[in-house]
């Protein structure tokens, strides 16, 4: 690949910085405007995610917060994917071997939440390489 001339690169960076500053100013101007109640997410929820735990803040996520995170990190949930049966198997394993209590009437909604927002995706025998961060390597 032919490299950008240095002055063009500098101009590009300056333009991007200027654009970024403009955006920040717009945002800060917006944030001073009073928000209406209807478009305010619950406290601690940003872009549909519970910021304290990283759980998808939809459905019965508060039940998951209350019942699962006493023992383990939410990361154990958010990095896993399973069907209803799969999540139920994990809950039963935790009850049989790890001292998890009976979830009672909360079990159904908890499993429903997990199987809805953390459902398996078909990836075959070799998933594509994902989230590659490209970088120039000079040899």
């Amino acid at each position: 690949m032919r490299r950008f001339p240095r002055y063009l690169l500098t101009l590009l960076i300056l333009a991007l910085v200027a654009a970024g500053l403009a955006t920040c100013q717009e945002e800060s101007a917006e944030s001073t405007a009073p928000a209406t109640a209807s478009d305010t997410p619950p406290p601690g929820v940003v872009e549909g995610m519970d910021t304290l735990t990283g759980l998808i803040a939809r459905g019965d996520y508060l039940l998951v917060k209350g019942n699962c995170l006493a023992c383990h990190s939410a990361k154990l949930i958010t990095q896993n994917r399973a069907s209803k049966e799969g999540w139920l198997d994990m809950i039963h394993w935790m009850q049989e071997t790890q001292g998890l209590q009976d979830l009672g009437k909360n079990e159904g909604p908890i499993v429903e939440y997990l199987a809805t927002y953390y459902a398996p995706e078909e990836s075959g025998r070799r998933p594509a390489l994902d989230s590659v961060k490209w970088y120039m390597l000079d040899l």
Binding site: K65, C71, S73, Q98, E122, R126, V132, Y135
Partner: protein, 389 residues
């Protein structure tokens, strides 16, 4: 956490924030879980021939003993290890100082790999920490041979079948009576020269997260066999039946099953030797290089017993393979290093695939190996993405 359900969303908990999840570790490690702490090393940080202590992955099942994580000075000489079990005439307790004084010291460079390394790729997904490739490392360990200690306590050779371990880590639930993990190895493995009671990595005390002040090292077996914060070893007259020796934990179907199948406990077998595997550690995936240049690649190859006999790479998804230069291991169970200059025929997207073959002719598969409920033993070829521009 009591009253967790009543916690207003977004409220920051006192005593929960701003703790260093990975004290003493390279900030480049990827945290998979913070309670219990689990973190892996991206392949490019494993490029060193001898893995640095701060780059060794962390796979914990419970909570590191509070005394170990506390910052006050500690006295490793006061740490004790008890040897007991059906095949030991009388339980004997050693201090770490006793062990260091009474037995001959050995140094070996030994590969440790989590049985679930590579779990992330399994389909249908397998539950547990979703390890990518980096739950492996090969530092230099210092310690004494477990065999020497077992002989010193006059273990019963006719009775001994298995050894099991207990450590001082605590259960996530906080229940002091719950055992976090208590696994082990067959007595034949325990008696090998390289089966160590280790107190040092690369000449320095073990990192707190990796078992300070004393741990087992059984290279070639899933790393979960190598107990940390070691306080007790039992020499059993049967296969050890401690926590995480049964069910689906560190076990795979004795006979291959359809992906996603339900497998009865009775049809699961304990994992022993880890399979042949290799990792491209340089360059980091995502390299964009100018056309016409040769790309030097390098990495490591290892297997659960014996040696890696051949290392190859492919840039055409396994249609053709080219041999790499491959070094001999510095000792048994140390990983070997490979390198090759790679030429690309034209511009575009490539994947460089690496394949190791052991002395017995077992090669890494290009697709996922046998599916199992917990996603163990994925030794499919490692690959990196490269663009020629």
């Amino acid at each position: 956490m009591v009253f967790a359900a009543r916690l207003p969303p977004g409220l920051q908990l006192l005593g929960w924030q701003d703790q260093d999840t990975l004290p003493g570790k390279d900030p480049g490690l990827i945290i998979l879980n913070d309670r219990p702490v689990n973190a892996e090393t991206p392949p490019h940080l494993l490029d060193q021939e001898v893995t640095a202590a701060d780059r060794l992955f962390v796979r914990n099942n419970g909570v590191v003993p509070a005394s170990i994580m506390a910052s006050e000075p500690r006295d490793p000489a006061s740490w004790t290890l008890t040897i007991a079990g059906e095949a030991v005439p009388a339980a004997i307790t050693f201090t770490l100082a006793d062990l260091q004084q009474q037995f001959k010291h050995y140094d070996y460079q030994l590969t440790l790999e989590c049985g679930g390394n590579g779990r992330k790729e399994f389909s249908p997904p397998a539950s547990g920490n979703q390890w990518d490739n980096g739950a492996v490392g090969c530092p230099r360990w210092t310690g004494i041979r477990l065999r020497d200690v077992l002989e010193a306590v006059d273990y019963d050779k006719s009775k001994a079948v298995y050894i099991g371990y207990y450590g001082n880590d605590t259960h996530l639930s906080g229940d002091p009576d719950e055992v976090v993990i208590s696994r082990g190895v067959p007595i034949t493995k325990a008696l090998e020269d390289e089966s160590l009671l280790a107190w040092a990595i690369n000449g320095k005390p073990l990192p707190p997260l990796n078992g300070y002040p004393l741990r087992l090292v059984f290279s070639g077996y899933p790393a979960s066999c190598s107990g940390k914060w070691l306080s007790k070893i039992v020499v059993r007259d049967r296969v050890h039946d401690g926590e995480k020796m049964g069910g689906a934990s560190y076990r795979v179907p004795c006979e291959p099953v359809t992906p996603g199948a339900d497998v009865e406990d009775a049809d699961m077998c304990i994992i022993e030797e880890m399979p042949v595997k290799s990792l491209i550690t340089s360059p980091r995936t995502g390299a964009v290089i100018d056309a016409g240049k040769l790309l030097p690649i390098s990495g490591h190859a290892w297997c659960g017993s014996g040696k890696v006999a051949q290392q190859e790479y492919s840039i055409d998804f396994g249609s053709t393979w080219t041999r790499c230069r491959l070094t001999q291991p510095v000792n048994r169970y140390a990983w070997q290093h490979f390198s090759a200059p790679v030429a690309f025929p034209k511009k575009g997207y490539y994947e460089v695939w690496a394949r190791a073959t052991d002395e017995r002719g077992n090669a890494q598969p290009m697709v996922l190996p046998a599916w199992n409920p917990r996603g163990y033993l994925n030794n499919a070829c490692h690959r990196i993405a490269v663009k020629i521009v």
